[in-house]
Protein backbone atom coordinates (compact mmCIF):
# COMPACT_ATOMS: atom_id res chain seq x y z
CA UNK A 1 0.00 0.00 0.00
CA UNK A 2 1.83 3.05 -1.20
CA UNK A 3 1.09 6.39 0.39
CA UNK A 4 0.00 8.13 -2.81
CA UNK A 5 -3.07 6.01 -3.40
CA UNK A 6 -6.34 7.45 -2.25
CA UNK A 7 -8.68 5.48 -0.08
CA UNK A 8 -11.99 5.52 -1.91
CA UNK A 9 -14.16 3.60 0.47
CA UNK A 10 -13.72 3.10 4.16
CA UNK A 11 -16.10 1.11 6.29
CA UNK A 12 -15.56 1.72 10.01
CA UNK A 13 -17.22 -0.22 12.76
CA UNK A 14 -20.31 -0.97 10.68
CA UNK A 15 -23.18 -2.59 12.55
CA UNK A 16 -26.44 -3.55 10.93
CA UNK A 17 -29.50 -4.31 13.00
CA UNK A 18 -32.82 -5.71 11.92
CA UNK A 19 -35.62 -4.10 13.90
CA UNK A 20 -38.23 -6.53 15.03
CA UNK A 21 -41.12 -6.25 17.44
CA UNK A 22 -39.25 -8.48 19.86
CA UNK A 23 -36.16 -6.26 19.68
CA UNK A 24 -33.31 -5.63 17.26
CA UNK A 25 -31.17 -8.48 15.97
CA UNK A 26 -27.73 -7.76 14.66
CA UNK A 27 -26.75 -9.27 11.32
CA UNK A 28 -23.45 -7.42 10.82
CA UNK A 29 -21.07 -6.84 13.73
CA UNK A 30 -18.46 -4.05 13.77
CA UNK A 31 -17.11 -4.61 10.30
CA UNK A 32 -14.05 -2.69 9.12
CA UNK A 33 -12.41 -2.57 5.73
CA UNK A 34 -11.14 -0.07 3.22
CA UNK A 35 -10.70 0.00 -0.51
CA UNK A 36 -8.51 2.13 -2.76
CA UNK A 37 -9.32 3.27 -6.25
CA UNK A 38 -8.27 0.69 -8.82
CA UNK A 39 -8.29 -2.13 -6.29
CA UNK A 40 -10.48 -5.16 -5.84
CA UNK A 41 -11.82 -6.44 -2.56
CA UNK A 42 -13.35 -9.87 -2.22
CA UNK A 43 -16.01 -10.61 0.35
CA UNK A 44 -16.57 -14.29 0.97
CA UNK A 45 -18.50 -16.06 3.64
CA UNK A 46 -21.30 -18.35 4.52
CA UNK A 47 -24.73 -17.98 3.04
CA UNK A 48 -26.58 -15.56 5.30
CA UNK A 49 -23.42 -14.11 6.83
CA UNK A 50 -24.32 -10.52 6.00
CA UNK A 51 -22.51 -9.92 2.71
CA UNK A 52 -25.49 -8.51 0.84
CA UNK A 53 -26.54 -6.49 3.87
CA UNK A 54 -23.14 -4.84 3.96
CA UNK A 55 -23.28 -3.99 0.27
CA UNK A 56 -26.81 -2.60 0.45
CA UNK A 57 -25.80 -0.50 3.43
CA UNK A 58 -23.01 1.05 1.37
CA UNK A 59 -25.44 1.69 -1.47
CA UNK A 60 -28.00 3.12 0.95
CA UNK A 61 -30.74 0.72 -0.04
CA UNK A 62 -31.15 -1.29 3.14
CA UNK A 63 -34.69 -2.55 3.66
CA UNK A 64 -36.81 -0.36 5.92
CA UNK A 65 -36.49 -2.75 8.84
CA UNK A 66 -32.69 -2.55 8.88
CA UNK A 67 -30.56 0.21 10.33
CA UNK A 68 -26.84 0.69 9.93
CA UNK A 69 -24.59 2.42 12.43
CA UNK A 70 -20.91 3.28 12.31
CA UNK A 71 -19.31 5.01 9.37
CA UNK A 72 -19.18 4.41 5.64
CA UNK A 73 -16.80 6.97 4.16
CA UNK A 74 -16.85 7.44 0.41
CA UNK A 75 -14.21 9.95 -0.71
CA UNK A 76 -14.25 11.18 2.84
CA UNK A 77 -18.02 11.76 2.96
CA UNK A 78 -20.02 9.71 5.45
CA UNK A 79 -22.71 7.97 3.43
CA UNK A 80 -24.72 7.03 6.50
CA UNK A 81 -25.35 10.66 7.35
CA UNK A 82 -25.64 11.90 3.76
CA UNK A 83 -28.91 13.48 2.71
CA UNK A 84 -31.23 11.87 0.24
CA UNK A 85 -30.17 14.28 -2.51
CA UNK A 86 -26.46 13.72 -1.87
CA UNK A 87 -26.92 9.99 -2.09
CA UNK A 88 -28.93 10.22 -5.28
CA UNK A 89 -26.11 12.09 -6.94
CA UNK A 90 -23.76 9.20 -6.23
CA UNK A 91 -26.16 6.33 -6.89
CA UNK A 92 -25.91 4.85 -10.33
CA UNK A 93 -23.30 7.30 -11.52
CA UNK A 94 -20.40 7.08 -9.06
CA UNK A 95 -21.45 3.90 -7.35
CA UNK A 96 -22.80 0.98 -9.33
CA UNK A 97 -24.55 -2.05 -7.92
CA UNK A 98 -24.99 -5.55 -9.30
CA UNK A 99 -27.89 -7.28 -7.59
CA UNK A 100 -27.67 -10.88 -6.52
CA UNK A 101 -31.05 -11.84 -7.99
CA UNK A 102 -31.42 -10.20 -11.39
CA UNK A 103 -34.80 -11.77 -12.12
CA UNK A 104 -36.56 -9.80 -9.41
CA UNK A 105 -34.21 -6.82 -9.64
CA UNK A 106 -35.34 -6.08 -13.18
CA UNK A 107 -38.76 -4.63 -13.94
CA UNK A 108 -41.22 -7.25 -15.19
CA UNK A 109 -43.14 -5.12 -17.67
CA UNK A 110 -40.47 -2.72 -18.93
CA UNK A 111 -38.17 -3.67 -21.76
CA UNK A 112 -34.52 -4.20 -20.94
CA UNK A 113 -33.72 -1.31 -23.25
CA UNK A 114 -35.90 1.14 -21.38
CA UNK A 115 -34.37 0.14 -18.06
CA UNK A 116 -30.83 0.45 -19.34
CA UNK A 117 -31.36 3.75 -21.11
CA UNK A 118 -32.91 5.84 -18.34
CA UNK A 119 -29.84 6.04 -16.04
CA UNK A 120 -27.55 6.92 -18.94
CA UNK A 121 -29.80 9.73 -20.08
CA UNK A 122 -29.97 10.98 -16.55
CA UNK A 123 -26.35 10.75 -15.47
CA UNK A 124 -24.48 11.10 -18.75
CA UNK A 125 -26.92 13.43 -20.49
CA UNK A 126 -27.12 11.09 -23.48
CA UNK A 127 -29.74 11.30 -26.17
CA UNK A 128 -32.03 8.34 -26.55
CA UNK A 129 -30.06 7.12 -29.54
CA UNK A 130 -26.68 7.52 -27.85
CA UNK A 131 -27.90 5.66 -24.79
CA UNK A 132 -29.38 2.89 -26.88
CA UNK A 133 -26.17 2.47 -28.85
CA UNK A 134 -24.12 2.33 -25.69
CA UNK A 135 -26.52 -0.17 -24.14
CA UNK A 136 -26.16 -2.32 -27.21
CA UNK A 137 -22.34 -2.06 -27.09
CA UNK A 138 -22.27 -2.93 -23.40
CA UNK A 139 -24.40 -6.02 -23.96
CA UNK A 140 -22.04 -7.03 -26.71
CA UNK A 141 -19.14 -6.66 -24.28
CA UNK A 142 -20.78 -9.05 -21.82
CA UNK A 143 -21.34 -11.58 -24.59
CA UNK A 144 -24.86 -10.84 -25.77
CA UNK A 145 -24.68 -9.90 -29.46
CA UNK A 146 -27.10 -7.21 -30.69
CA UNK A 147 -28.69 -9.76 -33.01
CA UNK A 148 -30.38 -11.36 -29.99
CA UNK A 149 -32.63 -8.32 -29.71
CA UNK A 150 -32.36 -8.27 -25.93
CA UNK A 151 -32.98 -4.52 -25.67
CA UNK A 152 -36.53 -5.06 -26.84
CA UNK A 153 -37.13 -8.12 -24.65
CA UNK A 154 -38.52 -8.45 -21.17
CA UNK A 155 -36.72 -10.06 -18.29
CA UNK A 156 -38.80 -13.25 -18.31
CA UNK A 157 -37.71 -13.90 -21.89
CA UNK A 158 -34.03 -14.12 -20.98
CA UNK A 159 -32.06 -17.04 -19.62
CA UNK A 160 -30.66 -16.84 -16.09
CA UNK A 161 -27.18 -16.01 -17.29
CA UNK A 162 -28.44 -13.40 -19.73
CA UNK A 163 -30.33 -11.62 -16.95
CA UNK A 164 -27.21 -11.55 -14.89
CA UNK A 165 -25.21 -10.08 -17.75
CA UNK A 166 -27.86 -7.45 -18.40
CA UNK A 167 -27.55 -6.51 -14.73
CA UNK A 168 -23.78 -6.22 -15.09
CA UNK A 169 -23.99 -4.14 -18.27
CA UNK A 170 -26.48 -1.86 -16.57
CA UNK A 171 -24.32 -1.36 -13.51
CA UNK A 172 -21.28 -0.18 -15.46
CA UNK A 173 -23.18 1.90 -17.99
CA UNK A 174 -22.47 5.22 -16.27
CA UNK A 175 -18.77 4.59 -15.61
CA UNK A 176 -18.92 4.19 -11.83
CA UNK A 177 -15.86 4.75 -9.64
CA UNK A 178 -17.00 2.07 -7.24
CA UNK A 179 -18.78 -1.10 -8.21
CA UNK A 180 -20.51 -3.29 -5.64
CA UNK A 181 -20.97 -6.66 -7.27
CA UNK A 182 -23.12 -9.08 -5.27
CA UNK A 183 -22.53 -12.57 -6.60
CA UNK A 184 -22.34 -11.26 -10.17
CA UNK A 185 -21.53 -14.48 -11.99
CA UNK A 186 -23.42 -17.27 -10.20
CA UNK A 187 -25.36 -18.21 -13.32
CA UNK A 188 -22.43 -18.07 -15.72
CA UNK A 189 -20.12 -20.80 -16.85
CA UNK A 190 -16.41 -20.42 -16.51
CA UNK A 191 -15.82 -19.09 -20.02
CA UNK A 192 -18.23 -16.19 -19.76
CA UNK A 193 -17.33 -15.58 -16.15
CA UNK A 194 -13.77 -15.05 -17.21
CA UNK A 195 -14.81 -12.75 -20.04
CA UNK A 196 -16.81 -10.61 -17.64
CA UNK A 197 -14.22 -10.41 -14.91
CA UNK A 198 -11.61 -9.50 -17.49
CA UNK A 199 -13.95 -6.74 -18.62
CA UNK A 200 -14.28 -5.46 -15.05
CA UNK A 201 -10.52 -5.58 -14.59
CA UNK A 202 -10.08 -3.62 -17.78
CA UNK A 203 -12.41 -0.97 -16.39
CA UNK A 204 -10.37 -1.03 -13.22
CA UNK A 205 -7.24 -0.28 -15.22
CA UNK A 206 -8.84 2.24 -17.59
CA UNK A 207 -11.08 4.10 -15.18
CA UNK A 208 -9.48 3.33 -11.84
CA UNK A 209 -12.61 1.43 -10.86
CA UNK A 210 -12.69 0.03 -7.36
CA UNK A 211 -14.53 -3.26 -7.13
CA UNK A 212 -16.15 -5.02 -4.20
CA UNK A 213 -16.65 -8.60 -5.33
CA UNK A 214 -19.02 -10.57 -3.15
CA UNK A 215 -18.75 -14.20 -3.96
CA UNK A 216 -18.96 -17.62 -2.44
CA UNK A 217 -16.49 -18.88 -4.99
CA UNK A 218 -13.02 -18.87 -3.49
CA UNK A 219 -11.47 -19.80 -6.82
CA UNK A 220 -12.88 -16.66 -8.35
CA UNK A 221 -11.88 -14.47 -5.42
CA UNK A 222 -8.35 -15.81 -5.40
CA UNK A 223 -7.91 -15.01 -9.07
CA UNK A 224 -9.44 -11.57 -9.22
CA UNK A 225 -9.07 -9.76 -5.91
CA UNK A 226 -6.28 -7.95 -4.11
CA UNK A 227 -7.72 -8.22 -0.63
CA UNK A 228 -10.32 -10.39 0.94
CA UNK A 229 -12.69 -10.31 3.91
CA UNK A 230 -14.02 -13.61 5.21
CA UNK A 231 -17.34 -13.46 7.03
CA UNK A 232 -19.36 -15.83 9.16
CA UNK A 233 -22.66 -15.08 10.89
CA UNK A 234 -22.16 -11.35 10.59
CA UNK A 235 -18.63 -11.33 11.98
CA UNK A 236 -15.38 -10.83 10.15
CA UNK A 237 -13.36 -14.01 10.54
CA UNK A 238 -10.25 -12.84 8.79
CA UNK A 239 -9.03 -10.13 6.46
CA UNK A 240 -5.89 -9.52 4.45
CA UNK A 241 -4.16 -9.73 1.10
CA UNK A 242 -5.92 -12.45 -0.87
CA UNK A 243 -2.87 -14.50 -1.74
CA UNK A 244 -1.74 -14.39 1.85
CA UNK A 245 -5.10 -15.50 3.20
CA UNK A 246 -5.37 -18.34 0.70
CA UNK A 247 -1.87 -19.55 1.28
CA UNK A 248 -1.90 -19.23 5.08
CA UNK A 249 -5.43 -18.98 6.36
CA UNK A 250 -5.35 -17.86 9.96
CA UNK A 251 -8.94 -18.75 10.64
CA UNK A 252 -9.97 -22.35 10.80
CA UNK A 253 -13.16 -21.38 9.01
CA UNK A 254 -11.23 -20.09 5.99
CA UNK A 255 -9.21 -23.25 6.05
CA UNK A 256 -12.45 -25.23 5.99
CA UNK A 257 -13.79 -23.22 3.07
CA UNK A 258 -10.66 -23.98 1.09
CA UNK A 259 -10.98 -27.67 1.77
CA UNK A 260 -14.70 -28.05 1.23
CA UNK A 261 -14.68 -26.84 -2.37
CA UNK A 262 -15.50 -29.67 -4.78
CA UNK A 263 -12.73 -30.14 -7.30
CA UNK A 264 -12.86 -31.50 -10.77
CA UNK A 265 -11.41 -34.96 -11.13
CA UNK A 266 -11.21 -35.60 -7.39
CA UNK A 267 -14.54 -36.89 -6.26
CA UNK A 268 -15.22 -38.22 -2.81
CA UNK A 269 -18.52 -39.98 -2.25
CA UNK A 270 -19.52 -37.26 0.16
CA UNK A 271 -18.27 -33.70 0.24
CA UNK A 272 -16.58 -32.47 3.39
CA UNK A 273 -18.59 -29.97 5.42
CA UNK A 274 -17.53 -27.43 7.99
CA UNK A 275 -18.81 -27.57 11.53
CA UNK A 276 -19.20 -23.83 11.77
CA UNK A 277 -20.22 -23.86 15.42
CA UNK A 278 -16.55 -24.22 16.30
CA UNK A 279 -15.72 -20.93 14.63
CA UNK A 280 -18.89 -18.92 14.96
CA UNK A 281 -18.73 -15.99 17.33
CA UNK A 282 -22.46 -16.19 17.80
CA UNK A 283 -23.24 -17.75 21.12
CA UNK A 284 -26.17 -20.06 20.65
Amino acid sequence: MSVGEKVLLEVCDLNIDILKPEGPSRVVHSLNFSLKAGKTLGVVGESGSGKSMTATAIMGILPDVAVASGQILYKGQDLLTATHAERRKLSGSEIGFIFQEPMSALHPTMTIGEQMIRPMRMHLGFSKKQARDRASDLLDLVGIPPTRGVLGSYVHQLSGGMRQRVMIAMSISCNPALLLADEPTTALDATIQKQILDLLLKLRDDLDLALVLISHDLGLVSQYTDDVVVMLDGYEMEQGATQEVIANPKSGYTQGLLEAAPRLGHQPHRLPVIDKSIYSKVTL
Binding site: V44, G45, E46, S47, G48, K51, S52, M53, P63, Q100, E101, P102, M103, S104, G143, G149, G152, S153, Q157, L158, S159, G160, G161, M162, R163, R165, D182, E183, T186, A187, L188, D189, A190, T191, I192, K194, H216, D217, L218, G219, L220, S222, Q223, I246, G256, L257, L258, A260, A261, P262, R263, L264, G265, Q267, R270, L271, P272, V273, I274, K276
Partner: protein
Protein backbone atom coordinates in the same frame (compact mmCIF):
# COMPACT_ATOMS: atom_id res chain seq x y z
CA UNK B 1 -25.51 -44.23 -7.04
CA UNK B 2 -23.73 -44.73 -10.32
CA UNK B 3 -25.49 -47.69 -11.75
CA UNK B 4 -26.50 -48.72 -15.21
CA UNK B 5 -29.08 -51.38 -14.82
CA UNK B 6 -29.33 -53.70 -17.75
CA UNK B 7 -32.47 -54.40 -19.68
CA UNK B 8 -34.29 -51.64 -17.92
CA UNK B 9 -36.45 -50.33 -20.72
CA UNK B 10 -39.47 -49.98 -18.51
CA UNK B 11 -37.30 -48.12 -16.07
CA UNK B 12 -37.28 -44.95 -18.11
CA UNK B 13 -38.57 -42.17 -15.92
CA UNK B 14 -38.17 -39.37 -18.43
CA UNK B 15 -38.09 -39.74 -22.17
CA UNK B 16 -37.71 -36.68 -24.36
CA UNK B 17 -38.00 -37.45 -28.06
CA UNK B 18 -37.09 -34.88 -30.71
CA UNK B 19 -38.19 -32.03 -28.55
CA UNK B 20 -38.04 -28.51 -29.98
CA UNK B 21 -39.14 -25.21 -28.55
CA UNK B 22 -39.48 -22.00 -30.46
CA UNK B 23 -40.15 -18.75 -28.62
CA UNK B 24 -41.66 -15.66 -30.12
CA UNK B 25 -39.86 -12.58 -28.93
CA UNK B 26 -40.85 -8.96 -28.93
CA UNK B 27 -44.13 -7.29 -28.11
CA UNK B 28 -47.63 -8.21 -29.10
CA UNK B 29 -47.37 -7.06 -32.69
CA UNK B 30 -43.67 -6.95 -33.55
CA UNK B 31 -42.27 -10.44 -33.54
CA UNK B 32 -39.20 -12.53 -34.08
CA UNK B 33 -38.59 -16.19 -33.40
CA UNK B 34 -35.90 -17.87 -31.38
CA UNK B 35 -35.24 -21.57 -31.25
CA UNK B 36 -34.36 -22.36 -27.64
CA UNK B 37 -34.39 -26.15 -27.88
CA UNK B 38 -33.66 -27.83 -31.17
CA UNK B 39 -34.65 -31.43 -31.74
CA UNK B 40 -33.30 -32.71 -28.45
CA UNK B 41 -33.70 -36.31 -27.29
CA UNK B 42 -32.76 -37.35 -23.81
CA UNK B 43 -33.77 -40.04 -21.38
CA UNK B 44 -33.36 -40.45 -17.67
CA UNK B 45 -33.62 -43.86 -16.03
CA UNK B 46 -34.80 -44.61 -12.53
CA UNK B 47 -32.13 -43.83 -9.97
CA UNK B 48 -30.09 -41.93 -12.52
CA UNK B 49 -28.77 -38.39 -12.40
CA UNK B 50 -28.21 -36.69 -15.72
CA UNK B 51 -26.06 -33.59 -15.55
CA UNK B 52 -27.05 -30.95 -18.05
CA UNK B 53 -24.36 -28.46 -18.96
CA UNK B 54 -23.99 -25.85 -21.64
CA UNK B 55 -23.32 -22.19 -22.02
CA UNK B 56 -25.67 -19.49 -20.88
CA UNK B 57 -28.75 -19.32 -23.07
CA UNK B 58 -28.22 -22.77 -24.56
CA UNK B 59 -31.68 -23.93 -23.49
CA UNK B 60 -31.04 -25.84 -20.25
CA UNK B 61 -33.78 -24.20 -18.23
CA UNK B 62 -36.19 -24.44 -21.13
CA UNK B 63 -35.53 -28.15 -21.52
CA UNK B 64 -36.00 -28.57 -17.78
CA UNK B 65 -39.33 -26.78 -17.82
CA UNK B 66 -40.50 -28.85 -20.74
CA UNK B 67 -39.51 -32.04 -18.90
CA UNK B 68 -41.93 -31.40 -16.07
CA UNK B 69 -44.70 -30.07 -18.24
CA UNK B 70 -44.39 -26.38 -17.43
CA UNK B 71 -44.05 -25.32 -21.03
CA UNK B 72 -45.33 -27.11 -24.06
CA UNK B 73 -42.71 -27.95 -26.67
CA UNK B 74 -43.35 -26.75 -30.22
CA UNK B 75 -42.80 -30.30 -31.36
CA UNK B 76 -41.66 -33.64 -29.97
CA UNK B 77 -42.95 -35.80 -27.17
CA UNK B 78 -42.31 -35.87 -23.44
CA UNK B 79 -42.99 -39.04 -21.50
CA UNK B 80 -42.74 -39.23 -17.74
CA UNK B 81 -43.07 -42.76 -16.34
CA UNK B 82 -44.36 -43.81 -19.75
CA UNK B 83 -47.13 -41.21 -19.82
CA UNK B 84 -47.17 -38.52 -22.48
CA UNK B 85 -47.64 -35.59 -20.11
CA UNK B 86 -48.93 -33.20 -22.74
CA UNK B 87 -51.72 -35.63 -23.58
CA UNK B 88 -53.01 -35.18 -20.03
CA UNK B 89 -55.81 -32.78 -19.20
CA UNK B 90 -55.11 -29.75 -17.06
CA UNK B 91 -56.26 -31.36 -13.82
CA UNK B 92 -54.60 -34.67 -14.55
CA UNK B 93 -51.36 -32.86 -15.25
CA UNK B 94 -51.66 -30.99 -11.98
CA UNK B 95 -51.96 -34.27 -10.11
CA UNK B 96 -49.15 -35.76 -12.14
CA UNK B 97 -46.93 -32.84 -11.12
CA UNK B 98 -46.57 -34.51 -7.79
CA UNK B 99 -44.29 -37.04 -9.44
CA UNK B 100 -42.09 -34.37 -11.00
CA UNK B 101 -40.73 -31.30 -9.35
CA UNK B 102 -38.46 -28.49 -10.36
CA UNK B 103 -36.05 -26.47 -8.30
CA UNK B 104 -36.03 -23.20 -10.18
CA UNK B 105 -33.02 -21.21 -11.20
CA UNK B 106 -34.58 -17.91 -10.13
CA UNK B 107 -35.99 -19.45 -7.04
CA UNK B 108 -37.02 -16.39 -5.11
CA UNK B 109 -39.33 -15.34 -7.89
CA UNK B 110 -41.44 -18.43 -7.36
CA UNK B 111 -41.90 -17.80 -3.64
CA UNK B 112 -45.18 -16.21 -2.58
CA UNK B 113 -44.27 -13.08 -0.60
CA UNK B 114 -47.28 -13.47 1.70
CA UNK B 115 -46.29 -16.89 3.01
CA UNK B 116 -44.01 -17.67 5.90
CA UNK B 117 -41.20 -20.19 5.53
CA UNK B 118 -43.38 -22.83 7.19
CA UNK B 119 -46.24 -22.18 4.76
CA UNK B 120 -43.90 -22.02 1.78
CA UNK B 121 -42.58 -25.51 2.40
CA UNK B 122 -46.04 -26.85 3.22
CA UNK B 123 -47.58 -25.31 0.11
CA UNK B 124 -46.72 -28.02 -2.44
CA UNK B 125 -48.06 -30.69 -0.06
CA UNK B 126 -51.21 -28.69 0.56
CA UNK B 127 -51.82 -28.06 -3.13
CA UNK B 128 -51.56 -31.77 -3.77
CA UNK B 129 -53.68 -32.58 -0.74
CA UNK B 130 -51.03 -34.81 0.78
CA UNK B 131 -50.61 -35.72 4.43
CA UNK B 132 -52.56 -34.41 7.38
CA UNK B 133 -52.02 -30.87 8.60
CA UNK B 134 -49.91 -32.12 11.49
CA UNK B 135 -47.75 -34.28 9.26
CA UNK B 136 -47.25 -31.42 6.85
CA UNK B 137 -46.05 -29.23 9.67
CA UNK B 138 -43.61 -31.87 10.87
CA UNK B 139 -42.29 -32.54 7.38
CA UNK B 140 -41.83 -28.84 6.69
CA UNK B 141 -39.81 -28.47 9.87
CA UNK B 142 -37.66 -31.45 9.05
CA UNK B 143 -37.00 -30.23 5.52
CA UNK B 144 -36.12 -26.73 6.70
CA UNK B 145 -33.64 -28.26 9.08
CA UNK B 146 -32.13 -30.41 6.36
CA UNK B 147 -31.38 -27.42 4.18
CA UNK B 148 -29.84 -25.59 7.13
CA UNK B 149 -32.63 -23.14 7.79
CA UNK B 150 -32.97 -22.56 11.51
CA UNK B 151 -36.11 -23.48 13.41
CA UNK B 152 -36.50 -19.91 14.62
CA UNK B 153 -36.93 -18.71 11.03
CA UNK B 154 -40.08 -20.69 10.24
CA UNK B 155 -42.27 -17.64 10.71
CA UNK B 156 -40.21 -15.38 8.43
CA UNK B 157 -41.27 -14.28 4.98
CA UNK B 158 -39.31 -14.86 1.79
CA UNK B 159 -37.93 -11.32 1.54
CA UNK B 160 -36.42 -11.62 5.00
CA UNK B 161 -33.93 -14.21 3.85
CA UNK B 162 -30.60 -13.91 2.08
CA UNK B 163 -30.20 -15.02 -1.55
CA UNK B 164 -28.70 -18.36 -0.64
CA UNK B 165 -31.30 -18.97 2.05
CA UNK B 166 -34.07 -18.41 -0.47
CA UNK B 167 -32.42 -20.87 -2.80
CA UNK B 168 -32.54 -23.44 -0.03
CA UNK B 169 -36.23 -22.74 0.57
CA UNK B 170 -36.75 -23.69 -3.07
CA UNK B 171 -34.85 -26.91 -2.61
CA UNK B 172 -36.93 -27.82 0.43
CA UNK B 173 -40.10 -27.17 -1.57
CA UNK B 174 -38.84 -29.30 -4.42
CA UNK B 175 -38.21 -32.21 -2.07
CA UNK B 176 -41.43 -31.86 -0.08
CA UNK B 177 -43.53 -34.08 -2.33
CA UNK B 178 -41.15 -37.00 -2.64
CA UNK B 179 -41.27 -36.78 -6.45
CA UNK B 180 -39.87 -39.42 -8.76
CA UNK B 181 -38.25 -36.94 -11.07
CA UNK B 182 -36.52 -33.74 -10.01
CA UNK B 183 -35.23 -31.08 -12.34
CA UNK B 184 -32.72 -29.11 -10.31
CA UNK B 185 -31.84 -25.93 -12.21
CA UNK B 186 -28.65 -24.47 -10.74
CA UNK B 187 -29.84 -25.43 -7.25
CA UNK B 188 -26.65 -24.53 -5.40
CA UNK B 189 -25.33 -21.61 -7.47
CA UNK B 190 -25.74 -19.09 -4.64
CA UNK B 191 -24.31 -21.22 -1.84
CA UNK B 192 -20.91 -21.08 -0.24
CA UNK B 193 -18.89 -24.27 -0.40
CA UNK B 194 -19.78 -25.45 3.05
CA UNK B 195 -23.54 -25.06 2.79
CA UNK B 196 -23.29 -26.22 -0.80
CA UNK B 197 -21.55 -29.38 0.36
CA UNK B 198 -24.31 -30.07 2.88
CA UNK B 199 -27.04 -29.49 0.34
CA UNK B 200 -25.34 -31.59 -2.31
CA UNK B 201 -24.81 -34.39 0.17
CA UNK B 202 -28.48 -34.12 1.09
CA UNK B 203 -29.60 -34.21 -2.53
CA UNK B 204 -27.42 -37.20 -3.16
CA UNK B 205 -28.63 -39.03 -0.05
CA UNK B 206 -32.24 -38.49 -0.94
CA UNK B 207 -31.64 -39.41 -4.54
CA UNK B 208 -29.97 -42.66 -3.56
CA UNK B 209 -32.33 -43.67 -0.80
CA UNK B 210 -35.45 -43.06 -2.86
CA UNK B 211 -34.01 -44.12 -6.22
CA UNK B 212 -34.88 -40.72 -7.59
CA UNK B 213 -34.23 -39.63 -11.11
CA UNK B 214 -32.77 -36.21 -11.58
CA UNK B 215 -31.78 -33.70 -14.19
CA UNK B 216 -29.10 -31.61 -12.61
CA UNK B 217 -28.30 -28.33 -14.32
CA UNK B 218 -25.17 -26.49 -13.30
CA UNK B 219 -22.37 -24.52 -14.83
CA UNK B 220 -19.97 -25.71 -12.16
CA UNK B 221 -18.24 -28.72 -13.67
CA UNK B 222 -16.97 -30.04 -10.37
CA UNK B 223 -20.48 -30.03 -8.94
CA UNK B 224 -21.86 -31.75 -12.03
CA UNK B 225 -19.17 -34.37 -11.80
CA UNK B 226 -19.99 -35.00 -8.16
CA UNK B 227 -23.72 -35.41 -8.76
CA UNK B 228 -24.12 -37.04 -12.15
CA UNK B 229 -24.03 -40.53 -13.60
CA UNK B 230 -24.61 -39.29 -17.12
CA UNK B 231 -23.76 -35.92 -18.67
CA UNK B 232 -25.47 -34.20 -21.58
CA UNK B 233 -23.93 -31.14 -23.19
CA UNK B 234 -26.25 -28.57 -24.72
CA UNK B 235 -25.17 -25.98 -27.26
CA UNK B 236 -27.60 -23.64 -29.01
CA UNK B 237 -30.47 -25.89 -28.06
CA UNK B 238 -28.89 -29.02 -29.53
CA UNK B 239 -27.51 -31.91 -27.53
CA UNK B 240 -23.89 -32.10 -28.61
CA UNK B 241 -22.75 -34.93 -26.46
CA UNK B 242 -24.36 -37.38 -24.09
CA UNK B 243 -22.64 -40.18 -22.20
CA UNK B 244 -21.47 -41.54 -18.89
CA UNK B 245 -20.04 -38.78 -16.73
CA UNK B 246 -16.57 -40.32 -16.40
CA UNK B 247 -16.26 -40.61 -20.15
CA UNK B 248 -17.44 -37.12 -20.98
CA UNK B 249 -15.13 -35.63 -18.40
CA UNK B 250 -12.15 -37.76 -19.35
CA UNK B 251 -12.52 -37.57 -23.14
CA UNK B 252 -14.79 -34.73 -24.13
CA UNK B 253 -15.81 -35.26 -27.74
CA UNK B 254 -16.93 -31.77 -28.61
CA UNK B 255 -14.65 -28.77 -28.56
CA UNK B 256 -17.23 -26.91 -26.54
CA UNK B 257 -17.12 -29.43 -23.71
CA UNK B 258 -13.36 -29.22 -23.70
CA UNK B 259 -13.39 -25.43 -23.28
CA UNK B 260 -15.90 -25.72 -20.49
CA UNK B 261 -13.68 -28.13 -18.63
CA UNK B 262 -10.48 -26.22 -19.30
CA UNK B 263 -11.71 -22.88 -18.11
CA UNK B 264 -13.14 -24.08 -14.80
CA UNK B 265 -11.45 -21.93 -12.17
CA UNK B 266 -9.61 -23.66 -9.41
CA UNK B 267 -7.73 -22.61 -6.36
Amino acid sequence: MKNDQLGAHNDLVLELTNVSKEFTLGGVFKRSKHVAVDNASLSVKRNQVVGLVGESGSGKSTLGRISIGLIRPTSGSVRVLGQDIFALGKDELRLYRRKMQMIFQDSSNSLNPRMSLQELIEEPMRVQNLYSAGERRMRARALADEVQLAEGWLGRYAHEFSGGQRQRISIARGLALEPELIVADEPVSALDVSVQARVLNLLKDIQESRSLSMIFVSHDMAVVEFMSDQVAVLCDGKIMENGPAEEVFANPKSAYTRTLLDSSPSL
